[in-house]
């Protein structure tokens, strides 16, 4: 059953206050509600080098009340597979192994170990929090950065290539659960993590996680930025259960009621797009529209 109000979310916090992550961090809000959806006493988290490692703190203290294994940057899928195998070998049942990695650690350097784990059907959940760049090391370009974004490695022309369609690559492994989410829609995020927890096999959730310092927008606008991404269909909320596609939450309403905003509305509030040209905005709009119509069509087909 879908969660309908904030009061239905568990009260207990699994991240103690006073963390190292920036004020208004989209990842932090994502992690906060994801842990509420899991059974933290029975969860083991695998984390590569990223803002998530920073959030997890410096030895001998961590703010997070969940067992976490830090793994090398490229190895998240392999590390999680090892934990799953270790639990099995030692007869420890009932644990959920959840990998949490950034887009750099997922789309780029971690793609081989992730693909290996998905191909083996490893019984785990993989959450990619997509802040669209290598944020921990100072906003370098990743293959998840959108076209037109200035990063510290694309400072002059801004990024020339569109975002990689990672979700299609993940889907091609034909795993039982693939979903997208956003911290601006915590109830939808919470429900998806909870649902994924109950499914056996490999599960993948990609969360669009706005990052104020990396994207260049005011801290207070974190929630609004995530909502605008959904309203413009730059980020589309959906889930695919055993191959059946369905739009959810704000994206479902957008498909039913219309009123899609333009990409120009989205880029104007972020300084990372300060160099974007009219032509690039047009190209980004076409890229976004093409995906949106595909999703609407799949949603129709999924229902019939």
């Amino acid at each position: 059953m879908a969660t309908k109000a904030a009061k239905e979310l568990p009260k207990e916090e699994f991240i103690l206050p006073g963390t190292r992550s920036c004020a208004a961090c989209g990842l932090m809000l994502t992690y906060r509600h994801s842990l509420k959806a899991l059974d933290p006493g029975k969860t083991i988290v695998a984390v590569p080098a990223s803002c998530m490692t920073v959030l997890h703190g410096v030895y001998p203290i961590t703010p997070v009340k969940v067992i976490c294994v830090n793994n090398p940057f490229a190895a998240t899928g392999a590390a999680a597979s090892g934990i799953v195998a270790g639990l099995k070998a030692t007869g420890k049942a009932g644990y959920t192994v959840v990998a949490f990695a950034g887009d750099g650690g997922t789309y780029d350097i971690g793609i081989q170990s992730l693909s290996g784990a998905l191909e083996r059907g490893t019984d785990f959940m993989y959450v990619c929090y997509d802040n669209e760049g290598y944020m921990n090391t100072g906003t370098q370009r990743s293959s998840a950065s959108p076209a037109g974004a200035v990063t510290t490695t694309t400072p002059i022309l801004a990024k020339l290539q569109h975002k990689k369609d990672m979700l299609r690559i993940v889907e091609a492994h034909r795993i039982p659960y693939v979903a997208t989410a956003s911290p601006s829609f915590p109830l939808d995020l919470y429900d998806k993590v909870r649902k994924a927890k109950e499914i056996k096999g490999s599960r993948y959730i990609e969360v669009h996680a706005p990052c104020p310092p990396g994207w260049g927008f005011p801290n207070k606008d974190l929630i609004k930025m995530g909502k605008l991404a959904a309203d413009t269909a730059v980020h589309v909320l959906y889930e695919i259960v055993d191959g059946k596609f369905r739009l959810t939450s704000r994206s479902l309403r957008l498909a039913e009621k219309g009123g899609k905003k333009t990409v120009a509305d989205y880029v104007k509030g972020q300084t990372r797009f300060k160099k974007i040209t009219e032509g690039q905005i047009q190209a980004l709009q076409e890229f976004t529209d093409r995906r949106w119509y595909e999703f609407m069509e799949r949603h129709q087909n999924g229902r019939s």
């Binding site: 103690l16 206050p17 004020a23 961590t62 703010p63 005011p218 801290n219 207070k220 929630i223």
Partner: protein
């Protein structure tokens, strides 16, 4: 011959608040709740839900843990009743920067 040492040594962190210190010190502005304006209803709690750092209480009247609130302003921005305002400064007792 000595026994082989089979003990595995693993560095394990323990959970505690304030891992990064008193993050309230990062603030330039501080949220202030007008309890009259707040709905004081469980049916809202949007500020609680959207605070990335989880420093707003769930019980009414709401309390903000100013020792750790980073002053991002999300709660003030998202409150549908405009019951939270961001006031200048850290607003913490004995703050040397504020000349108390």
């Amino acid at each position: 011959m000595a026994e082989k040492n089979r003990e595995t040594v693993v560095a394990v962190s323990k959970p505690a608040a304030g891992e990064a210190g008193r993050t309230g010190d990062w603030r330039s502005h501080t949220p202030r709740i007008d309890h009259e304006k707040c709905s004081q209803q469980e049916s809202c709690l949007l500020c609680w839900m959207y605070c990335p750092d989880g420093v707003i209480s769930r019980e009414f009247p709401l309390e903000i843990d100013v020792e750790y609130c980073k002053g991002c302003g999300i709660c003030a921005e998202e409150c549908p009743r405009k019951a939270i305002t961001m006031v200048q400064g850290r607003q913490s007792q004995g703050d040397p920067d504020e000349g108390h």
